[in-house]
């Protein structure tokens, strides 16, 4: 009798659990609200803000006005993918205003970047961050180089403007050098004059 009980009991239990399991999958099958997929790149689902964790290490963004161009991020980068240029020598046309610095170029080569976050850690002004964007797909390699000042891929126009600014920066540097030299000369002259003016007095005291 117990044999029969276990035999039919097994059938009963198995049928019951199959019915319950199939009911569960049926509920998911017919209920589209359960879907958790976010379709990549589609407008309907699209990259919404804040659906990634706050510490997600996506493509970098820069708070330009805080940057002092200390190049610590570039030095920290283990794959050397950050490059920057700028000047403190005066107003540079077309450049971006940092903190007491004119930034002419700030690019990250995302082809090389390993998204390690090591550039953001040492930044003294806390101005470079890992963002939420993760769309790295591009048609050419050059599109993988990102201009952090414009938040767009580094383009031909950027390169031309940057080349012009580089010359301008040289000119500014020379100008400033000259200016400094002139100032120094003037200061020296003034010192000399002052010294010469003082000399007779000194002689006087010596004499007296």
């Amino acid at each position: 009798m117990t044999t029969m009980n276990t035999y039919f009991g097994k059938i009963r239990e198995v049928s019951r659990s199959i019915i319950i399991g199939m009911g569960l999958t049926w509920r998911y099958l017919v209920n589209p609200k359960e879907i958790v997929t976010v379709q990549y790149g589609s407008k309907k689902y699209g990259p919404q803000k804040n659906y990634l964790p706050a510490r997600h290490r996506g493509i970098h963004y820069l708070e330009t006005e805080k940057c002092i161009q200390c190049e610590i991020c570039a030095k920290a980068c283990p794959v050397d993918c950050i490059e920057m240029e700028g000047t403190r020598d005066g107003d540079l046309e077309g450049a971006w205003q940092g903190d007491k610095v004119q930034i002419s170029r700030f690019v990250i080569d995302l082809n090389k970047c390993i998204f390690c976050n090591l550039c953001c850690e040492p930044c003294p002004k806390n101005c470079i961050h890992m963002g939420q964007e993760f769309d790295l797909a591009a048609y050419t390699r050059s599109h993988g180089v990102k201009n952090l000042l414009t938040d767009k891929p580094w383009s031909e126009a950027d390169a031309e403007a940057e080349a012009w600014r580089r010359d301008e920066m040289k000119r500014l540097a020379e100008e400033k050098k000259k200016k400094k030299a002139a100032e120094k000369a003037a200061r020296d002259a003034a010192k000399k004059a002052a010294a010469e003016k003082k000399k007779p007095d000194g002689d006087d005291t010596k004499k007296s």
């Binding site: 097994k10 659990s17 019915i19 319950i20 199939m22 569960l24 998911y28 879907i35 958790v36 997929t37």
Partner: protein
């Protein structure tokens, strides 16, 4: 009007055995069936991916075509472009022959499956016997594939497939036999004709045992198709991908197509045997040629019939997929247990019970309406009961609390 294919062949004069007869036979019979098998494969692969995705809270293919409907075509083109690899030390002849044999066994089955009243290629008087014989031919192809691949996973898969197909032939054949006892014929056309009229004339409601016969047939056919939970021959987590591990490109695609073709075949057989074949269950629709008349009426009637059988088959295919994405794969010993300890005795008892019922009832033309109606109501009631049983467990957390612990497997 004779059946469509007989009609065409007689018009074209293809009766003879000349070369033109062979070419005509290929053009009239083989090509439409090849097209049909491919379309069935395309649709059911897409369905499978969609159903599995939705069950697992995903969306499935979405990019190619509306809701990914053309994804299978893209995949097929990709497979066509792949390199055709043959492993070193493989038996090249058998390796090449195996997918053809597997596909052929599925393909030949379509010869006797009715598509509608008139569109049957061959109305054999031994139709079901032919299907059972040809269907098990697939096991030879699978064993060939496993043996010739020179790969231990393939061989394991092939041996498992052989074990499984051979043992599940028995309950499958016995459940087919029960239906033959009720219908009194092995011809698929005669069996379908016996189910004409209202929905309660279907064999599923013919007597109290037919639901159990159908369940046994369905479980055995899942095993015959090597579908989960009986997918031991291609168990991904154990055997890489079983007997077709070494196959790539188009040869793999042919295996895949054969699998989905076989799914359609077993579903279509179930529809013909239990769900009234091409009959919709509403006599007015089934005999619409009487009210429309002429060739139009015949064409409309056939279209309704074809739609009916294909829709019903695809619903059963969906049930197969639903089962696949719900139940875990069973072990080899559990598989043999289920067959020999449960399905085999039950199918024997059911065969005797159905025979006795048929003997005491005597010949009834068109079926017993009262019995049919009672069974229909009982079926609906049991489906409602099952829904309630399943509905009680509405959340996964509750499921964990309520699910009975099955101490030993089936």
């Amino acid at each position: 009007m004779e059946s469509y294919f007989t009609f065409v062949s007689s018009v074209l004069g293809l009766e003879g055995s000349s070369l033109w007869g062979v070419v005509g036979a290929i053009a009239v019979w083989a090509l439409p069936i090849t097209g049909f098998v491919s379309v069935v494969g395309l649709v059911s692969i897409w369905l499978e991916r969609k159903i599995s995705a939705h069950i697992q809270c995903r969306v499935g293919p979405m990019e190619v075509g509306p809701h990914g409907a053309l994804q299978t075509i893209a995949d097929g083109i990709k497979l066509l472009g792949k390199e055709d690899l043959v492993p070193a030390n493989a038996d090249r002849i058998l390796f090449g022959l195996a997918p053809m044999l597997v596909f052929a066994s599925t393909f030949v089955g379509f010869a006797v499956i009715p598509f509608s009243q008139k569109a049957v290629i061959a109305d054999l008087n031994l139709g079901i016997f032919f299907l059972a014989a040809v269907g098990s031919l697939e096991a030879i192809g699978v064993v060939m594939a496993g043996w010739s691949s020179n790969n231990k996973w393939s061989l394991f898969g092939a041996i498992r497939a052989a074990t499984q197909v051979v043992s599940y032939e028995i309950p499958l054949g016995l459940s087919l036999l029960a239906v033959i006892v009720v219908a009194g014929s092995m011809s698929l056309n005669d069996i379908t004709e016996a189910q004409s009229g209202w929905i309660w004339n279907w064999f599923l409601f013919r007597n109290p045992f037919m639901w159990a016969v159908f369940l046994i047939y369905f479980i055995a056919s899942l095993a015959e198709c090597k579908r989960a939970p009986f997918d031991l021959p291609e168990a991904e987590s154990e055997l890489v991908s079983g007997f077709h591990t070494e196959y790539s490109g188009m040869r793999f695609a042919i295996f895949f197509l054969a699998e989905y073709g076989a799914m359609y075949i077993v579903s279509a057989i179930a529809v013909v045997l239990f769900f009234g074949g091409w009959y919709t269950g509403i006599p007015f629709l089934d005999h619409i040629s009487g009210s429309i008349g002429g060739t139009t009426g015949v064409v409309v009637e056939n279209l309704i019939g074809a739609g009916s059988i294909i829709v019903k088959s695809f619903l059963l295919i969906c049930v197969q997929m639903w089962i696949r994405w719900t139940l875990p794969r069973i072990r080899l010993d559990q598989m043999m247990d289920l067959c020999l300890k449960y399905l085999l005795p039950f199918s024997l008892v059911l065969l005797v019970a159905v025979s006795l019922w048929q003997a005491f009832q005597g010949p009834v033309d068109g079926g017993n309406s009262v019995m049919g109606m009672i069974m229909l109501v009982a079926t609906v009631a049991s489906i409602v009961w099952m829904r309630r049983l399943a509905g009680r467990v509405s959340k996964a957390s509750e499921l964990r609390r309520e699910l009975p612990v099955v101490k030993t497997g089936l």
